[in-house]
């Protein structure tokens, strides 16, 4: 029993922080019209790949580091803290899908390339409404000889345009299944969305008779994968909220009005104290989820849903208040406040809103009681 992070984890987090603080600059997105490429989306990836991060959760048998969700949380948090634009998250989601659902052959074919940084991935699950659970007819798969053909559309696919391979959820006669789809084939069209969170690249994907290969072992994949996706988004959000709080506290100490720092007024102090409370709760919830998923503990699904539910609301609240405390300058494009505000809103909606997660939480609690 020890709810504190180990020395090893703290060291890992610190090394990630040092690296990202040196390498990631948001200066180039603080110009109106900037795109995610301007923010170093591709160059950041090369640097991150050189650190070995794409292989963090890949088993050692496939050239990865085989680390746990707690280890991952140390690095993913720092990515969320800096908003580091890169195809890291999409690749992570795809990696998890293949790692859990792929055959040995499928893993051998793709994962060493991912670990080396030469292969990028994406996970295409949502439909046009953003729903990720409901059986949707928007993408369908039919068998053709040894392979499958996929037709239809998937929405809100993170890092789709960068991906070499995608893991696509599509409907068969007998229910939903997951398929490996090579992205650079004629039947796959990626349409970039004018996504407000300019530190991330999100696209719709259209499929027309695209060749797919079914993941060999996808029967239990979605529940396992969803927990990890929710945990990852929650971890980014928790760390982002902490960064925004720190930034806002610093500003409140420096900015003066009526002859004293604005942070000496209780209206501001109390708002910042509330932020700290939310940040502490975010961190507790996400670390608990990280632990439960690392241990494959039965409480994992509940922990991940709770973390996503709480951090979604808290990150939005913290970033909104940050703009309020910065005052009018915080409303301008040249400040980073809006980048965090937009990331908060995107993370809150993707893979199921806070309310959707709360519905899952209460379902799980009721089921456990019954």
């Amino acid at each position: 029993m020890n709810f504190a992070l180990s020395e090893d984890h703290l060291v890992l987090r610190q090394s990630a922080r040092t690296f990202l603080e040196k390498e990631i600059s948001l200066a180039r997105v603080l110009v109106p019209g900037a795109t995610v490429e301007d923010a170093g989306y591709d160059t950041n990836w090369s640097k991150i790949a050189a650190m070995g991060w794409p292989g963090l959760v890949i088993d050692e048998a496939y050239d990865g580091l085989g680390l746990s969700c707690i280890d991952l949380a140390m690095i993913l948090g720092e990515m969320g803290r800096t908003l580091a634009p890169s195809p890291f998250l999409g690749t992570l989601f795809g990696t998890w899908a293949i790692q859990k659902g792929g055959s040995d052959t499928q893993k051998k074919a793709l994962l060493p390339g991912v670990a080396a940084g030469s292969t990028k991935l994406a996970l295409a699950v949502a439909d046009a409404s953003g729903a990720v659970d409901a059986p949707s007819r928007e993408a369908t798969a039919r068998r053709q000889g040894d392979s499958w053909r996929l037709t239809g559309a998937k929405s809100f696919v993170i890092d789709a345009a960068a991906a070499d391979w995608m893991v696509v959820a599509a409907q068969r006669e007998q229910g939903r299944a997951f398929f490996l789809v090579e992205a650079k084939q004629p039947g796959v069209q990626v349409d970039l969305l004018p996504w407000r969170d300019v530190t991330r690249q999100v696209a719709d994907v259209r499929l027309k008779d695209a060749v797919g290969e079914r993941l060999a072992d996808d029967a239990e994949l979605w529940s396992w994968l969803r927990d990890r996706v929710l945990f990852a988004l929650a971890t980014e959000s928790a760390a982002g909220a902490q960064r925004v709080m720190e930034m806002t506290v610093d500003y409140a100490k420096e900015r003066s009005a009526f002859g004293k720092p604005i942070g000496s007024y209780q209206a501001i102090k109390h708002s910042l104290a509330d932020m700290l409370g939310q940040v502490e709760c975010c961190n507790a919830a996400t670390l608990y989820a990280a632990w439960a998923l690392s241990e494959n503990d039965a409480r994992g699904p509940l922990a991940a849903a709770m973390a996503k539910a709480y951090t979604s609301d808290a990150y939005m609240a913290v970033t909104q208040r940050s703009i309020q405390i910065f005052g009018a300058i915080g409303f301008t494009w040249e400040m980073v406040n809006h980048l965090y505000f937009k990331r908060a809103r995107a993370n809150a909606e993707l893979f199921g809103s806070a309310r959707t997660q709360r519905a899952r939480v209460i379902d799980m609690v009721e089921k456990k009681a019954a």
Partner: protein
């Protein structure tokens, strides 16, 4: 990092459980002498227990249906100061009766004029030979009507700045000149709180705790000292029902079929689970020998309004019936012997949890100033001699 709690067959748990099996109905004194009243204290009073052992003891006492003697002011707040600041004679005289529950203690701190500005208190203790003579008026004193011992903070030097001229005394509550009057609070519960009037109360000088002038340091430490109380995530200062019972109750009466209530209940449930995690982390910090800091303030800042939300949703689920005195929202939930286990009473009482032991506003100041390093609120009276500040006060 490891969130696993000590398991059913943990060797330390087996030892504790064996004691309760051998002593199914222990007296307060037997519990105290076994070290279970204050396990974290040094011997002979406690067991020098780390946080894990404290957690095990809490859980095993709950399982055995045994309670620590109901003497919270002594056990949770004040008696520990005797270890560091008391004389040997004071320890011998006061501690065993306090820990066994024989002598109930109360805290004579707050005053009608003071509220959050505790350091501005007006009760005066004047030295006369081998006694102090005390004159003043205390308020919001829990248990004063049952107490044998009062922990009194009074001003011994009005010419010092407000925080420096205070001293603390251990007062026999049956001393002539002490009068206790109950306050009937909005829950209609009598004797939860009292006023205490002190008219020329003569206290022997050897009842001074520590030195003259130690009063402020002692009482602020006592207000911060909280025993690790993990098995109590309840809505009212850690007692009474928690969010888990809320969801169970709402499910039982069918209220979760209402989508709005269902979502709100889920939100409160998530908060409640996170607060449990924060409490666990505080426990780990102690196990890892990190000194307890101002995190206690943030925990209370989060837990108090959370507790209000727990009992508020239960109350609203009753509709108009919730206004009928004593009406229970979840009839099949059995109340324990803690008064706050009663949902109806807990709701009407819950307005107090953001007031007592630091108002929500004062806690937010503490969090902002001590954890975030924001500028401190200026107290123009802090450095003046108290007697002078008092004269110039509006």
């Amino acid at each position: 990092m490891d969130f696993e709690l000590p398991g059913e067959d943990h060797p330390r748990r087996k030892v504790v459980r064996a004691w309760f099996e051998a002593n199914p109905h222990p007296s307060g004194l037997a519990l105290a002498q076994a070290g279970f009243a204050v396990p974290h204290w040094p011997k002979p009073w406690g067991l020098e227990a780390d946080a894990e052992l404290q957690l095990i003891i809490d859980q095993e006492m709950k399982r055995a249906g045994v309670h620590v003697p109901r003497n919270p002011v002594a056990i949770n707040n004040c008696a520990q100061s005797l270890l560091t600041h008391g004389t040997e004679a004071q320890r011998q005289h006061f501690l065993w009766p306090a820990l066994s529950g024989e002598h109930v203690w109360c805290m004579l701190f707050s005053e009608p004029s003071g509220g959050s500005d505790l350091g501005n208190l007006r009760t005066v203790a004047r030295r006369e030979g081998d006694h102090y003579v005390v004159k003043g008026h205390k308020i919001w004193t829990s248990l004063a009507h049952k107490a044998k011992v009062g922990v009194l903070v009074a001003r011994t030097d009005p010419d010092q700045p407000k925080h420096k001229g205070l001293s603390e005394f251990l007062v026999d509550m049956d001393t002539p000149g002490i009068r206790v009057r109950p306050i009937i609070d909005m829950s209609a519960h009598e004797n939860e709180y009292n006023e205490v009037f002190l008219e020329d109360v003569r206290i022997p000088a050897d009842r001074l705790l520590g030195k003259e002038g130690d009063g402020w340091a002692l009482c602020t430490t006592q207000l911060q000292t909280e025993r690790v109380a993990l098995s109590r995530p309840g809505a009212i200062w850690g007692h009474g029902p928690s969010a888990r019972e809320l969801v169970e109750g709402l499910a039982e009466v069918g209220a979760l079929a209402d989508g709005a209530i269902r979502d709100e209940a889920a939100q409160i449930y998530v908060e409640g689970e996170i607060l449990r995690l924060l409490a666990y982390r505080a426990l780990s910090d102690r196990m890892n020998a990190k000194a307890p800091g101002p995190e206690g303030a943030i925990h209370k800042m989060l837990a108090a309004p959370h507790g209000q939300r727990v009992v508020d949703l239960a109350k609203r689920s009753q509709g108009a019936r919730g206004m009928i005195a004593g009406e229970k929202p979840f009839p099949s939930q059995l109340a324990g012997d803690d008064p706050y286990d009663d949902w109806d009473y807990a709701f009407w009482f819950s307005q107090a949890v953001t007031l007592g032991v630091g108002t929500q506003e004062v806690l937010k100041n503490v969090v902002a100033e001590r954890m975030l390093g924001l500028p401190r609120d200026l107290d123009p009276t802090a450095r003046l001699p108290w007697s002078q500040a008092r004269r110039s006060a509006p």
